[in-house]
Amino acid sequence: MLKLLPLIPLFPLISSILLMVTLGKMPKKFVAILGAGSVGLAAVTTLLVGLAFMESGQPYHQVLWTWMQVGNFSPDIAFYLDGLTLVMMSVITGVGFLIHLFSTEFMEDDVSVSRYFAYLNMFVFAMLILVMADNLLLLYLGWEGVGACSYLLVGFWYQNPENGAAARKAFVVTRIGDAAMAVGLFLLFTELGTLDIQPMAEAAKTQWQVGDTVPVIACLLLLGGAVGKSAQLPLHTWLPDAMAGPTPVSALIHAATMVTAGVYLIARTHELFLLAPPAMLAVALVGLITSLMAAFTALNQHDIKRILAYSTISQIGYMFLALGVGAWAAGIFHLVTHAFFKALLFLAAGAVIHCLHHEHNIFKMGGLRTRLPVVFWSFLIGSAALAALPFTSGFFSKDMILLQAYELPGAGPWLWAGGLLGALLTAIYSFRLVFVVFFGEAKMEPDKLPGIRMALPLSLLCVLSIIGGWFALPLSSVFPAAGDHHPSHLIEGISISIPLIGLAIAYLIFLGGQLKVDGLVNSNIGQVLKKFWFSGWAMDWLYDKLWVRPYKFLAYILRRECMDDIYNTIVKFCQFLFMVLSRTQTGRLRWYATSMVFGLILVIALLQGAI
């Protein structure tokens, strides 16, 4: 049964190529079936392969063909299946299928649906390759493929130049991360002689001691790549703009799968990171700072999708925090639960936008509780899981991370405190969203209700968001066993109560109205802070001033090819010489006679001299 492994990425690839080749000639219905069906088939195959794998227990390695072979550089197209890969594949194909099903109705009235499903299937294929690759070069292939597909999908409605700009921004910013990761790959290959993950881990353990400079540099470069793709602090500005794409795209790419690629990379190469403690600390710090920064920004956004985008950045910050403190299993566990509830939230937001004819501003919506019940309940459950209210899936995974962060000697408690503040803010902005959109007086009337193909994925995801926390993921074989931790009940109590406090605060501010914050908000500090946080801590402005403007200016100056001036000066000098000589040709006989006489004099003088 394990032999079916290569089939999983093959299904989306075939359907994507089919959709591309037919160039929109296929009837809409058939396109939807092919698009969603292929991912469904992949999900079923993953299930089968998963079952077979659970019985056998050891990792399964399958080589298709050697990609290229020059000297000792011989990466090959090969898949590696272990617990981590299985978890990631099931998330991608499972959540992916639900999102495909959702988008069959969401994109129904769009003119180029086949192009949409072609890109979406290609994305699922690239993500599967990324996850199943057994060597870093094939992983890099999936890595860049995912980046390219996200560029295509974000820029799907290309008529509007802003979408094009957002897509370009996404591709270039992630590309910076990819370049860093590429240099990391070069370093790893030069030092360890191979790019296959498992042999590389062994070679690293033998060659390097803990804390050598080379592993630290390599891990920091890999972190650079992960930061680019998972939209963490330095390279996160592209994710909020990437909301320009269709909402199911945001659900699939910018919530469930692509942004978690960075987390997967670090998890997959955790042996290297174990050899570089400073790099792990860096991962934790990046994660923590990003989550806090994103949480504050999400507090005062008014576009429903941008709130969810910043919340994604914040939640991935948590995963980075988990990886930084060595809680690998907890990080992946949070990744899985986050995929469930964030996909749910995005799809619900998609449904809201779809029914309110593309309205994005939450303050224009209100009181949708009664008109869109399904959407309301899915939003409620999603936000509960996001805020990690007790007994939701989010609670189990976030709690594990915070507890293990607390365990870390040295900076542990600080990280834990930061995490808690993040959890509080998460609770506040998620319930702010729910109360503003679904409670209060109705400002807009939805013109249509979500059909069955929208409601079904929403309900399935609701179920997953709730019970998602109870499954034990088969990660024990992959990661070193995390220490048994049972901190004092006080710490546990605090981390349980924080989300509830957040919920109360949100209720008091946005629904009950008892807690007046207008005074605080309208004070001039408040205004400045509000604008500052709204623009994402002015990161966009900073990057524009730091990189974009100088690059454009440089390109503008060099546009006329300054190197040409060197050759043009040579040309001008020749023309000057020609002009001087041509003036001597006056055409008058006397002038020629005189010049001849002049010559005669010289000759005779020479003769005189010579004799």
Partner: protein
């Protein structure tokens, strides 16, 4: 004799195509296509190439070990012989030339209206010249083909070019001619000095490999060769002819110019510059690497700043060929393979982009991107093709360019880590200009009432050939790697650097000022007596 026939078929084909114009203006195109395909078939059939033969590692200095070797006396007094030989590297280049030749003929099917016969004749003669360059192993014959390749290309640009063709073709001709002159000095000086030490004149590559010239003179000779090939492979300071030549050349002209003529420069570097002057080349390599890296970044920045679609693609090939320069002068097995792969993959991807540029110009009668916009709406198939080849030129893994660039950078990282890191920036700036090209030309608000014919069957077939080529190179490049492998092994062992490269992993300590005076020290190259 096979090699001689290869070139002869093209030359004769050119004449026939020229004469065929009288019967019917469309006929020369068919004749050109048939001649090129026949030449390709002849190569495959006549030269019984089996993997066993290709895999034997040739010793560069003995003719017998090469795949095919042909030698005939020409001017015995000076040791000049009509010597052609083919090994793995030149086999690859010959196949690339013929494939791109066929593609360029199909690219300009409807493009050329007047004097089609003469156009196809020039096309075939350029191809013949290029084949000669790839096969010639007698330096005198090499220089002859170097010029033969140049003249018809000049005519193609000068006669069928666009509005600024006079300036562009003249600039192209002068740049290559002057640098060719430098190379001629170097060849003659080499032969004369060789005659001093060995006592008899010989222009043959095999005998010149062990020439006794050392010291500053060898450095100058190496520079002479290097500059000639740097101009042809548009290296950083001397690349300014390429954008003009490309924007003004007709579609077929720029496909051939970008696809094949740039490769002659790179081929020259691998075949002549480093093997003939190993130690000087290694001493010179920090500068060359610096030029390569600067070329990548400079080409990309300028590409970003262009308004003209073809000029942007031209600068992109300046940027891509920077990688080849890096690959050659890193001089280990991996980097060299990367350079060869880049030559092949870049040929395909840039040829496609130029075809798209040509068809855009044919439909919109302009290359100015500010006048384009939202063309995907009118021409979805061309938009899809442009997107695919744009992604290829950005270096999307799974396509040929990525494999090449990755290998070059990994090979370079072993030799000069900092240089590799700087060149990795090239990946970012490459993405920047390619995306801006797609945005300004194909995306954005479509112009109303614009009825444009989309791609027909012929164009889609040509594009399909190139897509298959690129995907095949991207996913299973092993056949190409194996053909070039034995040659590159023999070259790396010949230069004696092997894995532990002579060039110690030093940051580029030579400042650009030193680069400048090296370049103008070349002006005083004279035949030393």
């Amino acid at each position: 004799m096979i090699l001689v026939n290869l070139i002869l078929i093209l030359l004769v084909g050119g004449v026939i195509a020229w004469l065929a114009e009288r019967q019917h203006p469309g006929l020369p195109r068919w004749i050109a296509l048939i001649v090129i395909l026949f030449d390709l078939a002849y190569l495959v059939a006549a030269a019984d190439l089996s993997w066993t033969k290709i895999n034997v590692v040739p010793n560069p200095s003995e003719a017998a070990t090469w795949l095919i070797h042909y030698k005939a006396e020409w001017i015995p007094r000076f040791g000049i012989s009509f010597e052609l030989a083919m090994d793995g590297l030149s086999l690859l280049m010959v196949i690339l030339t013929l494939v791109l030749g066929a593609i360029s003929v199909s690219a300009s099917w409807t493009d050329i209206k007047q004097r089609t016969g003469f156009f196809e004749a020039n096309l075939l003669w350029t191809l013949a010249g290029v084949l000669g360059v790839f096969l010639a192993l007698d330096l005198f014959l090499f220089f002859l083909f170097w010029e033969v390749m140049l003249v018809p290309m000049y005519l193609i640009i000068a006669i069928w070019g666009h509005e600024g063709r006079g300036y562009a073709s003249m600039k192209f001709f002068i740049f290559t001619q002057v640098s060719g002159l430098l190379m001629l000095f170097a060849i003659l000086a080499l032969v004369v000095l060789n005659q001093h030490s060995t006592g008899e004149y010989t222009f043959s590559y095999f005998d010149l490999l062990g020439h006794g010239v050392t010291g500053d003179m060898a450095y100058l000779l190496m520079l002479g060769f290097f500059i000639a090939f740097l101009v042809k492979l548009p290296g950083f300071p001397v690349h300014t002819w390429l954008p003009d030549a490309h924007t003004q050349a007709p579609t077929a002209g720029s496909v051939i110019l970008a696809g094949i003529l740039l490769k002659t420069g790179a081929y020259g570097l691998i075949r002549f510059v480093v093997p003939l002057f190993p130690h000087e080349a290694m001493a010179f390599s920090p500068i060359a690497l610096a030029l390569g890296a600067v070329g990548i970044i400079y080409g990309a920045i300028l590409a970003f700043g262009q308004d003209d679609f073809k000029r942007l693609v031209a600068y992109s090939s300046v940027s891509h060929m920077g990688f080849v320069l890096l690959g050659v002068f890193a001089w280990n097995a991996l980097a060299l393979q990367g350079a060869v792969m880049q030559m092949v993959a870049h040929g395909l991807s840039t040829a496609a982009l130029f075809m798209i540029a040509g068809s855009l110009q044919e439909r919109l009668h302009t290359r100015d991107m500010s006048k384009m916009g939202g063309l995907w709406q009118n021409m979805p198939r061309m938009g899809a093709m442009a997107m695919f080849f744009m992604l290829a030129s950005v270096g999307l893994p799974g396509l040929g360019n990525f494999v090449a660039e990755f290998m070059v950078l990994v090979g370079l990282f072993k030799v000069a880590p900092w240089m590799a890191t700087i060149s990795a920036l090239g990946l970012i700036v490459a993405a920047v200009y390619s995306l801006i090209m797609m945005q300004r030309a194909f995306q954005g608000k479509p112009k109303e009432g614009l009825q444009l014919p989309d791609y027909g069957v012929r164009e889609m077939l040509t594009m399909a050939v190139m897509i298959i080529g690129l995907v095949w190179l991207g996913l299973y490049p092993q056949p190409v790697l194996d053909t070039a492998q034995p040659v590159l092994d023999s070259l790396t062992t010949l230069v004696g650097s092997g894995e532990s490269s002579v060039v110690e992993a030093s940051v580029v300590e030579m400042s650009t000022a030193e680069v400048a005076d090296n370049l103008n020290s070349v002006q005083i190259v004279g035949v030393v007596k």
